[in-house]
Amino acid sequence: MKYNWNWAIFWDPAPDGTGIYLWWLVSGVGWTLATALLAWVIALALGATIGTLRTTPLTWVVRLGNAYVELFRNIPLLVQMFLWYFVLPELLPKALGDLLKQMVPPWASFWPAVLCLGFYTSARVAEQVRAGIQSLPRGQRMAATALGLTLPQAYRHVLLPQAFRIILPPLTSEFMNIIKNSAVALTIGLMELTARARAMQEFTFQVFEAFTAATLIYIVITLIVVYGMRRVEKRVRVPGLISAGGAPMAGH
């Protein structure tokens, strides 16, 4: 059976009356980026905090931080997504649970997706931050103490600025991961880019065209992120502070 090519399908009107199929894809990109960016903010804030805490001399804080990271690293992202979307509303008190369930789509899928991605990625960011801080020479911390800085001041003025510059490349990877992982949210109904490509394929049967468009868009987004982060790295680079490339960390 031959496949019917139809690249003009993008200009055909979509059945829900919102415009042409191309607009579906654009809307998908919008949701992908919105989810990814908001989740990234959560991930950075939480991850940096926990990663820093894991390098303090307080053993219980370190243990809690480790437990946090292990929890989010050992459960698949899809399973976590289901826990946030399906299980959480059932575990909360009935009134609160119903409130969550009555949320109108797309917000009903958006907020669980953002929280899920945010917490999932925060564990990975925490790992990066911890590794970054621990890769600094021990002399830095000692020098800071010798200068009379308290521990928080030492982190704020000496350790963290260096650590963040070192971990910019792995953080870029994590940012790209969060954009890719946003596609998993299609399982809970978020109409991001991959979901829109799939919907387009279901309504028009043009499998190749729909998925090619989505693939190209993801590649473009990746290229933009890579070039953007390269410029950021150049701008914040501290001459003389060599960031070791090291072996690649496993992951997506």
Binding site: M1, Y3, E70, L71, R73, N74, I75, P76, L77, L78, V79, Q80, F82, L83, F86, V87, E90, L91, M176, K180, N181, S182, A183, V184, L186, T187, T194, A197, R198, Q201, V207, F208, F211, A214, T215, Y218, I219, T222, L223, A247, P248, M249, A250, G251, H252
Partner: protein, 230 residues
Amino acid sequence: MFAGFDFDVIQRSLPFLFKEGMTFTLTLTAMAMTGGIVFGTLLAMMRLSSYALLNVPAAIYVNLMRSVPLVLVIFWFYFLVPWIGGWVIGAGQPIQVGAFWSSVITFTMFEAAYYAEIMRAGIQSVARGQVSAGQALGLNYWQTMGYVVLPQAFRNMLPVLLTQTIILFQDTSLVYVLSIVDFLGAAARIAQRDARLVEMYLFVAVVYFIISYTLSWMVKRLQIRIAIVK
């Protein structure tokens, strides 16, 4: 908070969950790991070669796979592998592939890109002197790689390779989007049939956690053992 939940449903569905679901997940992980490492090593060697005919396609492939979400790759391969297979072997119509083999191909091809980067670092971490010594002994390229470089590269990167495999194990849950019955898919089916979402999904999370945590603990111990020998 847990009142009104029927955790017995887990016990009743254990045979189905593990005999059908977990078997699929583990088989898929094992096959994709093997295929992925083999293909990934090949890709790494291609990327390190000085022939543009080899390193450019390999670089394009690796970067392509790393730019696109796994979910999208799963859809691509599920719907399109039969067409491509039919074209490659010259049949007049698409060849029959099926859900299991489509998943194996998908995960092998996808993870190969990540294994390739790991192996590339591994190969580069082997001292240049080793390659020179191999050549001095009269070994050709394949013998040098096979007997000298790759064994050392594998040993150096073993922990990272195994960690990537644990990630692969978790990623196999994404075959859910094709309604394939892996461990999560089996649990989802029971959950939807009996309306026991909370119980089943919590159980799945716990099982995945136990397996992944145990495996990564084993990898950490392996890392310590290997480090001493050097």
